[in-house]
Subunit: 337 residues, 2 copies
């Protein structure tokens, strides 16, 4: 039975477990340091589809099907799916999953979507509302660039603080099962706004919320970085990570020896246009549902914190001069003893 | 303790109750047949703000504050808030709630958002994960028109099947408390796509999903329309309602004597430009959190079905020739004996 501890942390006492997971990426992600970890990739950035948006829907569909296959269940065994993405009105998820015939909960957390969906799915399984629940998200470099910045055909240059949107989708199946990595607790973050207005520096916009959620979690659980094998953030990239360290050190919390960031891990740093690292809903989704799960399987990881970070802006809000609020959701994932 | 019955319906045995609710509308909604039911309105379509988007954020904030006040609790008593809207990247909710300091779960269900958020909040309260949970959504005629259709300055005419986006926000506070209307069950809908492609006929796009969810609910619970005081749909409008009747009659389900639709109820039918009725996330949100709650209080209603219907399209998907999938979530709301 789930129970709330402290301000924001919910302990899941029935051990909802990740029984299946799937990851699909594009060519650039496949060529990065984690390339061999991913289930599927395609050298065609459109994944055989007519538009970038359809391509994004297609990789969500494949990620879910891969995760279900690994979990050994079919669509009709799923009681609920939590899905969302960066596209306006979340059409990546809608069109990717519309034929799945699974009760559908649409979510929006920008790049925090993987942790958000995984948290909700864990809660539903822990409380016995769902026997099997799925969480999925995606992003696509080309659909994101033209929606948030410029049509690719312009060949616009980006600033050194900007991040490259990951082309990829990750899906996880949650079920009650004894011998798989399980979600020990979830912490839903608050919106944090420190007035950052630079839409080309998402890392800076998200770092304060990451600091806020991790401090809340350490306070709620009376633990410290030393208690975990690793603390993995979603897509702060190189700039945001540095800021997160600075913010936490002000409160005497030092995660530097224990931390890595999916946005730093996914690309070859020497690649042109990667700038401050990877970003997008797909970034932490594909790293969780490949590299991280593999490390749990070989027991390199047994007790970790996984946090996805989101920047809650739109091109309209940016053009209207609004700040960029951030949000970060956190999960404590553990291996059974 | 929540438990799943049948395929999709979740019974909430601890009676999560609507302990507070708030509604804010614009001038046109105030002048409609339900005008006196709403808590707040403003003759200024910008609600004192600089932009339509800021206005939408502002009414969400006021709706939440009104609901909290009626529930007799403060922000710090809230364990979680579920919020979403129609604007790209849900900025109506982000900027309306960013200073609220409440753990935030962003959701996206298009015009089904009120039922979606209310369902999730009910589950969280029923399972003891949240003591108090809030669900809120909004829409704004002007921010929606320029995002989905044309800038208002064009003075574009709309088709007779099109609906007018409601300017309004509704919020509800869910808590465990014995003497208020409570959520007896929730049914999360599936995405239903019947190939409707006319973005000026949302009612037709959403009706099949409404039919699907209500049939699923009747099947799960072995009940029929006669068992309820009223069945209220979100914003099918006049066209969608007619289609819903036709679709259900094919399965020998006749809801005609028991049904009303928020999109039909909210505007003066003789008003120019209302066409097929009201729509938008705010439509079912403001009707639930005013008229419907008042009818529970005077015991005109004691056992109802409340369904919000959403059309999962974006301008991009429409321009790319995609169909318009629909989704409908359903709640059974009851008065304590």
């Amino acid at each position: 039975m789930a129970e709330r501890i402290g301000n924001s942390t919910i302990f899941l006492n029935n051990r909802p477990s990740i029984t299946g997971y799937g990851s699909v990426v594009g060519k650039t992600e496949r060529e990065g340091p984690l390339g061999d970890e991913f289930d599927r990739f395609d050298i065609d950035i459109r994944f055989g589809e007519k538009t970038f948006e359809r391509a994004e829907s297609r990789i969500q569909k494949i990620a879910v099907e891969t995760a279900l296959k690994k979990a050994g269940i079919s669509e009709k065994d799923c009681d609920v799916i939590f899905a969302g993405d960066l596209l306006n009105q979340c059409i990546g998820s809608t069109f990717g999953l519309k034929d799945k015939n699974i009760p559908y909960v649409g979510i929006y957390g920008a790049c925090s979507t993987m942790a958000l969906g995984l948290s909700l799915a864990s809660v539903f399984v822990d409380c016995g509302i769902a026997k099997n629940a799925v969480a999925v998200t995606s992003s696509h470099f080309c659909s994101a660039e033209r929606q948030y910045r410029f049509p690719l055909e312009y060949g616009a240059l980006r600033t050194p603080t900007s991040q490259r949107t990951v082309t990829g989708s990750g899906a996880a199946v949650l079920s009650l099962q004894g011998d798989k990595p399980y979600i020990n607790s979830v912490t839903f973050g608050k919106i944090v706004d420190r007035g950052v207005c630079d839409a080309n520096n998402m890392g800076a916009a998200m770092a304060p919320s990451a600091a806020d959620t991790i401090k809340e979690y350490f306070y709620d659980t009376n633990t410290s970085p030393e208690d975990y094998d690793i603390i993995i953030t979603g897509d702060l990239g190189f700039v945001g990570t540095k800021l997160l360290y600075e913010l936490l050190l002000k409160d005497d919390i030092d995660i530097r020896c224990k931390h890595n960031d999916c946005g730093q891990m996914i690309y070859d740093k020497n690649l042109r246009d990667v700038n401050a690292g990877g970003s997008g809903c797909g970034c932490s989704a594909v790293v969780l549902n490949s590299y991280i799960m593999h490390r749990f399987e070989n027991r390199d990881f047994n007790n970790i914190l996984f946090m996805s970070t989101g920047a809650l802006l739109s091109p309209t809000s940016a053009l209207q001069g609004e700040s960029i609020p951030g949000i970060t959701h956190l999960l404590n994932i553990r291996n059974p003893e």
